[in-house]
């Protein structure tokens, strides 16, 4: 696996896949996609990176332990749900902020629902990497 092409190539692939995964995440509310699919695609990038450059490198590139990312994602998703409390709503009630909304055009929607989906993304991303890294190191 010590091919230079693979090593350099995988770096680019990581970048491209990460961008694509974020695209999938953000469009999820209106078209096929979403946090889970996004997280999986993002994780795939790092899995390829780990295959190309070894898990040690991949871990270093990630900086944070993947299980910490996953757990933090769970926390973020939970906070997104809890945010409703500030507005006197029940748990997981979506809170929306439409930036620049005019009439029918809803502008740029920011919502706790999106934050929740980001949590999902991080959980999937972190969990898959936790699993794959550990398995690769073991085998």
């Amino acid at each position: 696996m010590n091919s230079i092409i693979l090593r350099i190539g995988s770096r680019y692939v990581v970048g491209i896949l990460l961008l694509f995964s974020i695209y999938m995440l953000l469009r999820g509310h209106n078209e096929p996609g979403g946090g889970f699919i996004g997280g999986l695609i993002g994780a795939t990038g790092f899995v390829l990176y780990a295959i190309g450059c070894g898990t040690a490198d991949a871990r270093a590139a990630l900086r944070i332990m993947p299980q910490t990312i996953a757990m933090a994602g769970l926390g973020i998703a939970l906070v997104a749900g809890l945010a409703a409390a500030a507005f006197g709503d029940a748990l997981f009630t979506g809170q929306w902020l439409f930036i620049g909304a005019e009439g029918d055009d809803k502008g740029l929607p920011l919502s706790t629902v999106l934050v929740f989906d980001i949590g999902v993304y991080l959980v999937v991303f972190g969990a898959i990497l936790t699993l794959v890294f550990a398995m690769e190191e073991e085998i």
Binding site: G33, G34, M71, G73, G81, V113, V124, A127, E137
Partner: protein, 756 residues
């Protein structure tokens, strides 16, 4: 021979003194109630314990409960005083005293309770505390065995009793004993009378060690002697008798009652007296005479005549007094000499004169000599026996034989050790017991003498009100008197003396005979061992087959349950017409299904790992195609990604795993195939039936309508996931996080162990 090694160190501190004071105070308290009760009053106190279930903690002081309470607290005080010296300095004395005091309180609660369930609660408390007391010598196998035996036998009876009490409560419409007793006719006529009676008797007979449940009692002598004195004179074993006495007004008077009690009582009395004579250990001999007394008491409770009841009450008191005294005497002997073996002991009269005198008085009362209370008791017994209308000869004969044997045993226990000449070496040089240990035997023996000489002291305060509890009227009690004139009971008494003395004279050859007979007879104690090992073997056998440790079997049973459960329900309840309609399906769809099916078949049958993984991949892709065809793009993408990951993970794992089958090993399993096809078939049938029902689309329609206007999303599936059913998704990601953490933990602990 001694189980409880008496210690010469002294002082148990508070643990020694406080219980004596408590029980003494209780005794005095009950004494102060005597005038009121003998005047015909009944005291009642009640607390709503569990009103939802109709259970009250109610207590009743009447003649019967007062008599019992006085015996319990009085003897309890003396026993506690005695124990403090007997077990002086024992490391576990505090626990001992605690258990003994708790036992006494439980026993008091039992006899005072006026609620069926309240009574049962105290009943079981005596079971627990006596378990702990009998197991005082817990470091020996014998001690533990005896404790368990007592617990198990009486516990079994208690469960029957519980069922009986509940049924009685349901039938009578109340759990208050005094209310039930007032409904005697109703209960005797109730269709549940017989079952209830049998259940109550099961409880009473096990607790009171009636034949054939008697075997636990002699083993219970593993307890320290003061415990035996207490449990087997006035308390534990009398609980069963108390229950019968308490229920007497409601249950007696039927043939079943009469004959069950009479026969069990008589058999127990005679059988136990013979066994008593067979023993050479003084304590064991006393234990069997306790059985005899219990049998006699039960016998009398079978009757309803005032003679029988008076006899019951008198003998109850007599027995408690002399039996406690004699047990304590045996304890003194044991304490002083280090043995209880009748064939070794002798000549103690000179070194232990006070003990000897107390023993003599108690024994004379036991043997039924005048002027002691025992004599009056015996006379009344004969009178009572003769009052049995149908079979006086049988009953009187049984009583006569038992009494004669008892006289002989009294001689063995209380006369020979003191006055026989012997050359045997004693384990210790005997000396007179200290006063704390003499107080009990002396006072109890003296009471027997005083009440004998002046029976009026007992008649009005205790006997009459107690008889009144049975018969409703204190004047029904027969008069207690030493000289009742020349009558049949007197002749029977004389016959008893003659026969008893005769048996005493020949008791040693007779004993050898009895030992041989006993050894030949079926042994209940060994039966117990057989029962236990049989139970264990059965448990072991059934567990071996069910919980076999073989995973395949577990899974097989589980799926077999599915097949039988679902298939059976289909057959019994029917699911309607489920003929599949396979018309009009596009070729493309047939192809996808064929792909899935082929993949499935290969996965199920192949012996190659690579083929299996590839087949799984094919199935996964086929399922994803289904999702694509049937308008589920999100699901399809997810399915494809997940299937890819699964295949990758399996492939990675397989780098280290062995081949599917060992060389030459066949994995052809026809029965598994039958089960598998059965389960598959049941699932298909159920699904077909479900598809034949109409589907209500309310939920989906709501989501379609609100998804964009209210939840601001055009991908309805995603909106459901992150908004309508966000809680599901949250749970789902929690599963993912934890799955990865768990898998990580699994892998990491491997690494740790390898490096170690």
């Amino acid at each position: 021979m001694t189980n409880d090694e008496p210690s010469r160190r002294s002082g148990n501190g508070f643990a020694g003194v406080v219980p004596v004071l408590i029980s003494g105070a209780i005794f005095v308290f009950f004494l102060t109630l005597v005038p009121q009760i003998s005047a015909g009053d009944v005291l009642r106190w009640s607390y709503d314990w569990v009103p939802s279930l109709g259970i009250k903690l109610s207590f009743l002081v009447d003649g019967l409960s007062l008599t019992f309470s006085l015996l319990i607290s009085g003897i309890g005080t003396l026993v506690l005083l005695y124990s403090n010296t007997y077990l002086a300095g024992h490391v576990q004395y505090a626990r001992f005293a605690l258990f003994l005091t708790s036992f006494m309180l439980a026993m008091l609660g039992l006899v005072l309770a006026d609620n069926l369930i309240g009574l049962f609660v105290f009943w079981e408390l005596t079971t627990i505390t006596s378990y702990l007391l009998i197991g005082f010598g817990h470091e020996t196998t014998k001690g533990r065995r005896s404790a368990l035996q007592a617990l198990f036998v009486t516990g079994a009876g208690a469960l029957a009793l519980l069922a009986g009490l509940i049924l009685l409560g349901i039938s009578a419409g109340t759990f208050e004993i005094s209310e039930i007793l007032a409904k005697g006719d109703e209960i005797r006529a109730h269709e549940m009378y017989l079952p209830i009676l049998i259940l109550l008797l099961a409880g009473a007979f096990t607790k009171s060690a009636q034949f054939p449940f008697h075997f636990w009692l002699p083993n219970a002598m593993a307890a320290p002697t003061p415990v035996s004195a207490f449990l087997h004179s006035a308390t534990m074993v009398k609980a069963g008798v108390y229950l019968l006495a308490r229920m007497h007004p409601a249950f007696s008077g039927t043939d079943v009652w009469l004959w069950t009690l009479t026969i069990f009582g008589a058999v127990t009395a005679v059988f136990a007296s013979f066994l008593a004579l067979r023993q050479t250990d003084l304590k064991q001999a006393l234990a069997y005479t306790t059985l005899m007394a219990l049998g006699t008491l039960t016998l009398f409770l079978g009757q309803t005549s005032s003679y029988a009841i008076t006899a019951f009450v008198t003998f109850l008191i007599v027995h408690s007094l002399y039996k406690a005294a004699l047990f304590l005497v045996v304890g003194c002997i044991d304490h002083a000499t280090g043995t209880r073996e009748a064939e070794i002991l002798g000549g103690l009269g000179r070194v232990m004169p006070v003990t000897a005198i107390a023993a003599a008085i108690a024994a004379l009362s036991m043997a039924g000599f005048p002027p002691f209370l025992g004599f009056i008791g015996k006379e009344l017994k004969y009178a009572g026996a003769l009052a049995v209308a149908s079979e006086p000869v049988f009953v009187a004969g049984a009583v006569l034989l038992a009494n004669a044997l008892m006289l002989a045993v009294a001689g063995v226990v209380a006369f020979r050790p003191f006055w026989r000449k012997t050359d045997s070496e004693l384990p210790r040089t005997p000396r007179e017991a200290p006063w704390q240990m003499l107080a009990g035997p002396v006072l109890l023996a003296a009471a027997g003498a005083i009440f004998g000489i002046n029976p009026d002291l007992l008649q009005v305060p205790l006997v009459n009100p107690t008889v009144a509890t049975f018969l409703g009227d204190p004047t029904d009690a027969k008069e207690l008197k030493l000289w009742a004139g020349v009558n049949l009971p007197l002749f029977l008494s004389i016959a008893t003396f003659v026969l008893g003395l005769l048996i005493y004279v020949i008791h040693r050859p007779l004993r050898n005979l009895l030992i041989r007979a006993d050894n030949a007879a079926p042994n209940f104690d060994r039966g117990w061992d057989a029962f236990l090992s049989g139970l264990k073997a059965f448990a072991w056998w059934q567990t071996k087959y069910l919980q076999s440790g073989v995973l395949r079997q577990y899974i097989f049973i589980t799926f077999a349950t599915v097949l039988v459960g679902l298939g059976g329900t289909m057959l019994v309840r029917g699911i309607g017409n489920v003929l599949p309609d396979l018309t009009g399906i596009a070729l493309r769809n047939w192809a996808v299904v064929a792909l899935i099916t082929v993949g499935t078949l290969i996965a199920a049958t192949t012996r190659s790992r690579i083929a299996a993984v590839a087949a799984l991949g094919v199935v996964g892709i086929g399922v994803a195609l289904i999702f694509i065809i049937f308008s589920a793009p999100d699901v399809a993408i997810t399915q494809l990604l997940v299937e890819t990951l699964i295949v990758v993970l399996v492939a990675v794992a397989m780098l280290r795993l062995p081949f599917l089958d060992a060389q030459g090993e066949s994995d052809h399993r026809p029965w598994d195939a039958v089960l598998a096809i059965g389960v598959g078939g049941v699932v298909t049938l159920t699904l077909l039936a479900v598809l034949a029902t109409p589907l209500d689309l309310r939920l989906t329609e709501y989501f379609e309508v609100t998804s964009w206007p209210e939840a601001f999303g055009r991908n309805i599936v995603n909106v459901i996931l992150v908004d309508f059913r966000a809680l599901d998704t949250f749970g789902e990601i929690a599963v993912v996080v934890i799955a990865s953490l768990s898998a990580y933990a699994l892998l990491r602990t491997t690494a740790k162990e390898k490096s170690e």
